[in-house]
């Protein structure tokens, strides 16, 4: 059974339809890279998966739970679906440790000491164990984004969503974040990434999904799709991003 099932979803902001009959299945352990121009609906689709955006038609299921059902406990779902944003969205008033342990303590009722141990462990995975008691403002953009990833990992999610996580970073800082993504992927995490990093998509993506004007325009195995795009739109897009 697929971990994520998206069936025929539609979404509009007012009269503008941003998602048109989008369907996508993601199996456990897959790493799906979603690419496309800005405004193609890729970030919106990602945000629909953990219920941040409501949809007007269709069905989204994560691990069998229907996301767009009013009876669904979104809080419970979100504990199992991590999301990392383009702008990090760390809590500026909390230390790195408190950023990471807030949800485990408040939502999962972990004891502070146990939560701190978890924080230490996930920080080690992103290579920042020495920043446990730093504040976000003392970190570089790349370090903040790694903390944001650690914060998601601390909830032990079954699925992780990444929304253009390197786009707000200076070029020299994207490498350290991509390296962390790589290691998370190698651990077998199911990941859906909206990204402009074609190199990463090619090497670690099990599949590439190209979105165009609110639809999934083309998809397939990462290497094949990127090497031999079939539709003229994807060809144009790829030649533009690969200059």
């Amino acid at each position: 059974m697929s971990l994520v099932e998206i069936q025929g979803i539609n979404k509009s902001y007012g009269s503008v339809q941003v998602l048109k009959d989008v369907s996508l299945d993601v199996a456990k352990g897959e790493v799906v890279a979603v690419i496309g121009r800005s405004g193609s609906g890729k970030s919106t689709m990602l945000r629909c998966i953990n219920g941040l955006e409501p949809i007007q038609a269709g069905v989204i299921r994560v691990d069998g739970t229907q996301v767009n059902d009013p009876a669904t406990n979104l809080r419970k779902l979100r504990q199992e679906v991590g999301i990392v944003f383009q702008s990090f969205n760390l809590f500026p008033h909390l230390s790195v440790c408190d950023n990471i342990t807030l949800a485990p303590r408040v939502v999962k009722k972990q004891a502070p000491q146990a939560a701190r141990e978890v924080a230490r462990e996930v920080l080690a995975r992103v290579g920042l164990e020495d920043k446990l008691d730093a504040y976000p403002s003392q970190l570089s953009g790349g370090q903040q984004q790694r903390v944001a990833i650690a914060r998601s990992l601390a909830m032990r999610p079954k699925l992780m969503l990444f929304d253009e996580v390197t786009s707000a970073l200076d070029p020299e800082l994207t490498g350290e974040v991509l390296k962390v993504l790589e290691s998370v992927a190698k651990e077998g995490m199911t990941m859906i990434l909206v990204t402009h990093e074609m190199g990463f998509a090619r090497r670690f993506g099990s599949r590439v999904v190209f979105m165009h004007e609110g639809r999934i325009h083309e998809q397939g195995p990462a290497a094949a799709v990127l090497a031999e795009p079939k539709t003229p739109e994807l060809q144009t897009f790829l030649s533009a991003v690969l200059h």
């Binding site: 979104l74 991590g82 809590f91 008033h93 807030l102 949800a103 408040v106 939502v107």
Partner: protein, 216 residues
């Protein structure tokens, strides 16, 4: 008998200022308790609740404080609650202050970026937990300067309690002026005491605001 306006009268006026401060403190606590409810009601994703809170603010901010003082002073006894000027004034100022603090604090809450709410929600925090752990702690910094500024308004406005016979600084001034026939000297002294209470707060409010601006 007419007496002179002397040092002893100044001491009495300063002593009366403690009732001004006591009324301000009581009203501030009352206004804070109602104000925080109003502020949160104004941002809840429930339209009817927002409307009720908005109507409350419009009505309170659209009527003079004197009217609130009198309506509560004369109205509560009709509801079978006996009131002295102290309770009437504390209630009226709490109602009045809650509308202003509610607006100030709503402004502070909405000044926090929407992405902070989203980050909290994405980690599985409930709406209340997002408010408590993520939004409120950050908005307090933003709220402090205007809140202190409002405290100055509150101190000055407690002078209106004199009208229903509550003896605070202004009422004591009226009594002293009547006894000494030196209204100018008395009211200048009264004004100076208010200034001594309000000016430091105004300055403080401005200095923390400047620090916040620099921090951004």
């Amino acid at each position: 008998m007419i007496r002179e306006f002397g040092l002893i009268d100044v001491m009495y006026l300063i002593a009366a200022a403690r009732w001004t401060l006591a009324l301000t403190a009581t009203a501030f606590i009352g206004a804070s308790l109602i104000g925080i409810v109003i502020a949160i009601a104004r941002i809840l994703p429930l339209a009817p609740v927002r409307w009720v809170a908005a109507a409350y603010i419009h009505i309170v901010q659209g009527t003079p404080l004197l009217v609130w003082l009198f309506v509560i002073f004369f109205g509560l006894p009709l509801a079978g609650i006996s009131v002295n000027p102290w309770i009437a004034a504390a209630t009226a100022f709490s109602v009045y202050g809650s509308a202003f603090l509610g607006e100030i604090w709503r402004g502070a809450l909405v000044s926090i970026a929407k992405t902070q709410w989203e980050a909290g929600a994405s980690l599985g925090l409930s709406l209340g937990e997002q408010l408590r752990h993520v939004i409120v702690p950050q908005s307090i910094r933003v709220a402090i300067p205007p809140t202190v500024g409002f405290l100055v308004q509150l101190i000055k406005n407690t002078s209106l309690a004199a009208v229903i016979g509550f003896v605070e600084l202004t009422r004591e001034g009226q009594l002293t002026a009547a006894g000494t026939y030196k209204p100018f000297a008395v009211y200048i002294t009264v004004a100076a005491i208010y200034f001594a209470m309000c000016f430091p707060l105004s300055q403080w409010s401005r200095s923390i605001e400047r620090k916040l601006d620099v921090a951004r």
